[in-house]
């Protein structure tokens, strides 16, 4: 029984309470620190000493400072936060994409509608130069809106690349910080205590990295945490971290991909493996949403421009002398991009190239394609349509290629989806090309006709019913439908009986008969000769005649203007050529735009919903973590008082021990 025992108990108690107060103070100080886990001092009784009269306790020991953390909750929170960041990135970028397709009068659809409606005024008075001027300025507006929208999409693409670079720079910095922390923590592994604050910092950094790209972590026995991304690619292992980089996509350098630098060599990380995090959201936006929007916009631009120019070429303008109309619009042409890894020749250029020609702009699809050599048959190629994965085989056939749909073996002829493909050079078996028939169409759209007299309002041929006709047949419509029409040839149609049988004669300008024959007219079906289609109302009687001759007075004819007006109802976007040669309807220009804007709207809506849901899930997970490891100021205040009292009590014990020692000394000195 010595006073020193009491003293040491008092000292121990004071120390323990002081340590607790210090830790409580640390908690209070770090109440707002993100990622901080509440720390508590673990106290244990110092045990008892057997003095023969019983076990007498020796006081209290501070075992360690423990932080309140739950690995499982942390992991859940990381995952949820990563998903929320991905959805948020995609949602906010999609909202920007939406501004490219406004509904109403400022949109592309309204401009196309105005342009086509302006031809109604021209049809009312074909010689009116102010109606022509209005058409030209409407055409400029159409080209302008398409090219502005295309330019906005290109800028959004640049924005994505720039956001990716920023994110990757942040990630690289954080990864190297994690590596540093790993080495610091490992160095401290020897002592039995746990470096709580370092662990908190590392967890927080990993969560931040997780917000950029989803990570999985594996703790190793030396205390370091291995961080892995993209399904097993190591980012941080031990004290070493790898660097990510943003590199151009080998299939198309305007897009970006993420690569990881491994021993100085950059390996591309497949986008499908980078799930979760802002980077993944940006990549999905770049590779799916932007591509789809650009292709849909380009498909509309190409189809409208193609048909308008075609009808313009069929008509007669007001030039002197009047001639076939010249194109009104020009759009960006189809593009075939070689993969950056394709075989190169000695000079460094590519050994092979692919070129595309548009044969029918109304059949172009809103999709990119991939062209690769057919591994099974040398000399053949496989073309894959990226929106739906449908594959076509391309086999040499004379000077061109024959396309066959692989799923059912259907023969598509020498062109597919409105385009023809030419291969120059020989492809290496590992080569591939990305084909963009409509991707670059919109951004380069321009009006190329400036002279109002250049609008072809007149049809090249006119149909006149015979003066002596006794039947009720009148001309409903006459339209040139093919470039094979020769306006200098006059067609005389003579009905031989009352049931629609007729004989026809085609005479050239010098009066020589070039061809003749017989046919039968049925109500509702056009008479198709010399590249034109003639529709009749009423019923012709025997002996009635109709002649189709070159238009004598183009300045007062409005036949071609009527054909342009007819484009409003023509389903010219995305027609489908069936196997039997018939064309399945696409959409009208108005419906196509309504589809695009609804499509983008649905994407935005669903992205917003995903974002709301994943943010809510993330907040819930964060709440669970905060419950476990968060600091509650009221609780800390209470504990502070508690340990303060304890400290005061312990100090009192020391005081009493000191008083006893004084008493003993006094006793001993007598």
């Amino acid at each position: 029984m010595s006073s020193s025992a009491l003293m040491s108990i008092g000292v121990r108690a004071m120390f323990a309470n002081y340590a607790s107060m210090q830790t409580t103070g640390h908690n209070i100080a770090n109440a707002q620190t993100p990622g901080y886990s509440r720390q508590t001092v673990q106290l244990a009784s110092s045990g008892g000493q057997n003095t023969g009269d019983g076990f007498f306790g020796k006081g209290v020991d501070v075992v360690t400072v423990k932080r309140a953390s739950d690995d499982f909750l942390e992991a859940q929170s990381q995952t949820a936060s990563s998903m929320a960041a991905m959805d948020d990135a995609r949602s906010s970028n999609l909202e920007q994409l939406e501004t490219v397709f406004p509904p109403g009068d400022t949109g592309v659809g309204a401009a196309v509608g105005n342009f086509m409606n302006a031809f109604v005024d021209l049809a009312n008075s074909p010689a009116d130069s102010s109606a022509r001027q209005v058409i030209l300025s409407d055409a400029a507006e159409v080209a302008d809106r398409f090219s502005t929208a295309g330019g906005q999409l290109d800028r959004l693409q640049n924005g994505v690349s720039s956001d990716l670079r920023n994110s990757v720079a942040q990630l690289n910095q954080m990864a190297s910080q994690v590596a540093t922390l790993n080495s610091d923590i490992a160095a401290l592994r020897g002592s039995s205590a746990v470096p709580n604050d370092l662990l908190d910092q590392r967890d927080e950094l990993i969560k931040q990295i997780g917000n950029l790209v989803k990570v999985s972590t594996i703790a190793s026995s030396d205390g370091t945490m291995g961080v892995f991304i993209a399904g097993g690619q190591r980012l941080v292992l031990g004290a070493e971290s790898q660097q990510l980089a943003v590199t151009p996509d080998p299939t198309n350098s305007s897009r970006s991909v993420i690569s990881i630098s491994d021993s100085g060599i950059l390996h591309e990380l497949p986008g499908s493996l980078l799930v979760g995090g802002t980077i993944s959201g940006l990549l999905q936006y770049q590779n799916e949403d932007l591509v789809s929007a650009r292709n849909q916009l380009g498909q509309m631009a190409a189809a409208v421009s193609g048909r308008v120019n075609q009808i313009q070429a069929f008509g007669i303008d007001l030039g002197s002398p009047p001639g076939a109309g010249n194109p009104v619009f020009a759009v960006g042409g189809p593009v075939a991009t070689p993969n950056a890894h394709n075989l190169r020749d000695a000079a460094g250029g590519f050994a092979s190239s692919v070129s595309l020609t548009v044969t029918d702009a109304t059949q172009l699809k809103a999709s990119d394609y991939t062209l690769t050599p057919d591994p099974a048959t040398s000399g053949n190629y496989i073309v894959t349509r990226q929106t739906d994965g449908v594959q076509f085989s391309m086999a040499p056939n004379g000077g061109s290629y024959a396309f066959t749909r692989l799923s059912d073996g259907a023969a598509m002829g020498d062109s597919m989806d409105g385009m023809q493909i030419t291969i120059n050079g020989t492809l290496d078996p590992n080569d591939s090309f990305e084909l963009q028939p409509v991707g670059r169409a919109a951004v380069s759209m321009a009006r190329v006709l400036d002279n109002p007299a250049g609008i072809a309002a007149a049809a090249p041929i006119t149909a006149v019913t015979g003066v002596a006709n006794t039947g009720t047949a009148t001309v409903a419509s006459l339209a040139v439908v093919s470039t094979s029409n020769d306006p200098t040839i006059s067609t005389a149609i003579n009905f031989t009986d009352a049931s629609g049988d007729y004989s026809y004669t085609l005479t050239d300008a010098s009066g020589n008969v070039t061809s003749s024959g017989n046919g039968t007219w049925t109500a509702g079906q056009p008479i198709a000769l010399n590249g034109f289609e003639l529709n009749l109302n009423g019923v012709p009687a025997s002996g009635d005649t109709i002649s189709v001759v070159k238009t004598a007075h183009p300045e007062s004819n409005n036949g071609n203007a009527l054909a342009m007006v007819g484009l409003r109802d023509e389903t010219l976007v995305g027609q489908d050529m069936q196997i039997d040669g018939t064309l399945q309807d696409g959409e009208t220009a108005t419906d196509a735009y309504a589809s695009v804007l609804a499509n983008v709207g649905v994407r935005v809506q669903s992205a917003k919903t995903s974002s709301t849901l994943s943010t809510a899930a993330s907040q819930q997970a964060d709440a669970a973590v905060a419950d476990k490891s968060g600091v509650n100021l009221d609780e800390e205040a209470g504990r502070l008082i508690q340990f303060q009292q304890g400290y005061q009590a312990a100090a009192k014990v020391l005081q009493v021990a000191q008083a006893i020692f004084d008493t003993l000394l006094q006793m001993a000195s007598h």
Binding site: A31, Q32, E95, E98, P102, P103, G104, G107, G109, A110, G113, N117, A118, V120, D121, A123, N124, S125, A127, T462, A463, V464, T465, V467, A468, V475, N537, T551, A552, H553, P554, E555, S556, N557, A561, V565, R568, T590, D591, A594, S595, L597, A598, V600, G601, V604, Q605, Q619, D622, A626, D627, S629, G630, V631, N632, L633, D634, A637, G638, I641
Partner: protein
């Protein structure tokens, strides 16, 4: 003991998040109320945005069609009034012709009638060439490089292309009429056959009529007179072949041949020949008046020649008038049709506007009520935040 701990910083964060999202909703509602639109961008309601887009396109289209209908309306109004003028002029010519048949007139008096008819003919030419006020011509058909009717030796010719130009509406509405059909294609004769005085100066033949439509053939007939033996007889030839001969002739008596019947009056001389041929649609208004003028201007005509001239001219003028009236009624019915089309277009426009409005416009009552709701919720959140943040144990501890 497990405690449901609330981390202080997390509590603040989540309260602030709540405030932010309420404020965001409130701002959105306010924006909707200011613009009056529920659907400002496509993501607000994609299906409604697509509907509104299609409705807007339809609205623009009906506006364009209404302009086309107006153009056709103007053209047909002009046409109808031109044809009205033409009818009146022909009526005047008819009256002049009737009065010129007065047997007591001298050559000079007839010549002065001829001059008046010539003036009417010239007026009719300018009606036929009436401009449409937009640089074109009303009767230009499918186009003429200038005035559609040209006066040249041999008669008035039509420079335009037959048919008519239509405006760009879903049903064909005309901008022009076929001038050749209106002015140059009246029926000759009485519509079925034409009677012609070949060489007789003492007798005249009327226009004839159809007594039996089934018996009408497409042949040409000659009535040849001979006065052999003191009696006037006539023979009937069909396409040059004699059908009957020696028929006794009485002036003013009906002669019937193959369903046709006509009257020859006067005293035909030997060798006088009258012909009938099938009608064609080739009578020109101008030719009709020109030949009337020519006949009346000739001096020393004698009674029967004048009668013949008057008979032929009245017949021709009536046919021309009938052709012009028929064209005029076509213009009139087209104007009626245009009224109907206009009405339908107005209804379509209204329906498109209604559709657009219901798709994208804001229901103000609903919006106001939800605005109030959100406002109250936001106020409550703000108040509760202000109250709770004051509560802390530290306030109650003194050092």
């Amino acid at each position: 003991m497990t405690v449901d701990r609330i981390s202080t910083s997390f509590a603040y964060d989540s309260a602030l998040n709540n405030l932010m999202s309420r404020q965001d909703n409130l701002t959105q509602t306010q924006e909707q109320m200011t613009s009056g639109k529920r659907v400002v961008k496509a993501s607000d309601d994609p299906a409604a945005a697509a509907r509104a887009e299609r409705a807007r396109a339809l609205e623009d289209r009906t506006t364009a069609s209404q302009k086309a209908v107006d153009a056709s309306n103007n053209a047909m109004t002009l046409t109808e009034s031109a044809l009205g003028d033409a009818s009146e002029l022909l009526q005047q010519a008819r009256e002049l012709m009737v009065s010129a048949g007065d047997a007591s007139y001298s050559d000079d008096e007839r010549a002065s009638k001829a001059t008046a008819i010539k003036a009417i003919r010239d007026q009719l030419l300018s009606v036929a060439n009436r401009p449409d006020g937009q640089g074109g011509y009303v009767f230009s058909g499918q186009g003429s490089g200038g005035a559609p009717f040209v006066d040249q030796p041999g008669g008035v010719a039509y420079q335009g292309v037959g048919g008519s130009i239509n405006v760009a509406t879903d049903e064909p509405l005309p901008l022009t009429l076929d001038g050749g059909n209106v002015w140059l294609s009246a029926n000759t004769g009485n519509g079925v056959f034409v009677t012609n005085n070949v060489n007789s100066g003492n007798a005249w033949i009327d226009s004839g009529r159809v007594t039996s439509p089934d018996l009408i053939t497409n042949s040409s007939y000659d009535i040849q007179f001979s006065t052999a033996g003191g009696d006037t007889t006539y023979s009937v030839l069909k396409d040059g072949n004699t059908v009957s001969s020696g028929n006794p002739f009485t002036s003013g008596q009906e002669i019937s041949v193959d369903g046709m019947s006509f009257t020859i009056s006067g005293a035909p001389a030997d060798g006088d020949d009258f012909q009938t041929t099938p009608s064609t649609k080739s009578l020109s208004v101008f030719d009709a008046l020109d030949s009337a003028v020519a006949q009346l201007s000739k001096p020393d005509q004698g009674g029967s020649r004048v009668q013949q001239a008057v008979e032929d001219s009245l017949r021709n003028i009536d046919q021309c008038n009938s052709q012009i009236s028929s064209a005029r009624s076509f213009a009139g019915t087209t104007l009626q049709r245009l009224d109907g089309v206009k009405g339908r277009l107005d209804a379509t426009e209204l329906s498109a506007q209604t559709s657009r409005s219901s798709a994208e416009d804001l229901d103000m009552v609903k919006a106001l009520s939800s605005f109030n709701q959100q406002q109250t919720g936001y106020q409550a959140a703000l108040q509760s935040y202000a109250t709770i943040q004051k509560l802390s144990l530290f306030n109650y501890l003194n050092a």
